[in-house]
């Protein structure tokens, strides 16, 4: 279950960021500080996002799931951020359609097939607009864990 692995140090509520790069730098720094990712992670993340964007428009709610090559990752993890103001991400599968994102799930993936279940849980969370709406209202880290726990227990 994802909620059991969520750490306060990787959850951000009311995050202030100017751009999508800014979000990735702030969350990436937390991943690096906590030892989940190598120093190279942030630049690799930003470069990959430019080439293969990860913004999603889920029935009008903007979400992004930035991630990058496994070689920049030490340990798998998930960082979650709720932004005070939206930033622009390009939509996955396009190179010019944008989506305004206030909810970011950043992934540190080490071995995709070993974590298939976790990846599927994340996708299930992202596809549930009711869950996304709840997450957007959150002001405390504990609430994020609670919402995700409830969702996972319902799967």
């Amino acid at each position: 279950m994802i909620w059991e692995e969520l750490k306060d140090s990787l959850i951000f509520t009311g995050l202030q960021a100017e751009t999508s790069d800014d979000v990735m730098r702030q969350l990436g720094a937390a991943f690096i500080n906590e030892g989940y990712c190598k120093e190279t992670y942030v630049e690799a993340l930003i470069a990959r996002e430019k080439e293969f964007p990860t913004g999603l428009d889920v029935d009008g709610i903007g979400v992004a799931i930035p991630h990058t090559d496994v070689s920049h990752v030490n340990e798998p993890g998930i960082a979650i951020a709720v932004l005070t103001d939206p930033v622009t991400f390009i939509q996955m599968g396009t190179d010019d359609e944008i989506t305004q994102v206030k909810l970011v799930f950043m992934l540190a993936v080490k071995d995709p097939n070993a974590h298939l279940e976790n990846l599927q849980q994340i996708i299930a969370i992202i596809q549930d607009t009711e869950v996304l709406k709840k997450l957007l209202e959150v002001t405390e880290k504990k609430e994020i864990i609670k919402i995700i726990k409830e969702k996972e227990n319902s799967l």
Partner: protein, 93 residues
Amino acid sequence: MKKKVIVACGGAVATSTIAANKVVELCKKNGIDVEICQIRISEIESNLPGTSLIVTTSKVKRDYGVPLITGMPFISGVGVEKTEAAILDVLKA
């Protein structure tokens, strides 16, 4: 006969893992024997021989001469049924 399906994304990290699993489940349900080749977009060309279908979660501008379907609905959850029907159309042909 076993059908070979390439499932590709930018880094073969997250989204193609999800999409590949969906394609496997879909084929199992429909009795289609399938072999999945999960790779990066940049590796599609060298893996083309014998491929019946390409599913990607990134934009691909090239025509590989093989049917190509976007697997984005598997990630966003929007339009999954239509995508599944399109995949089955190609693989049952």
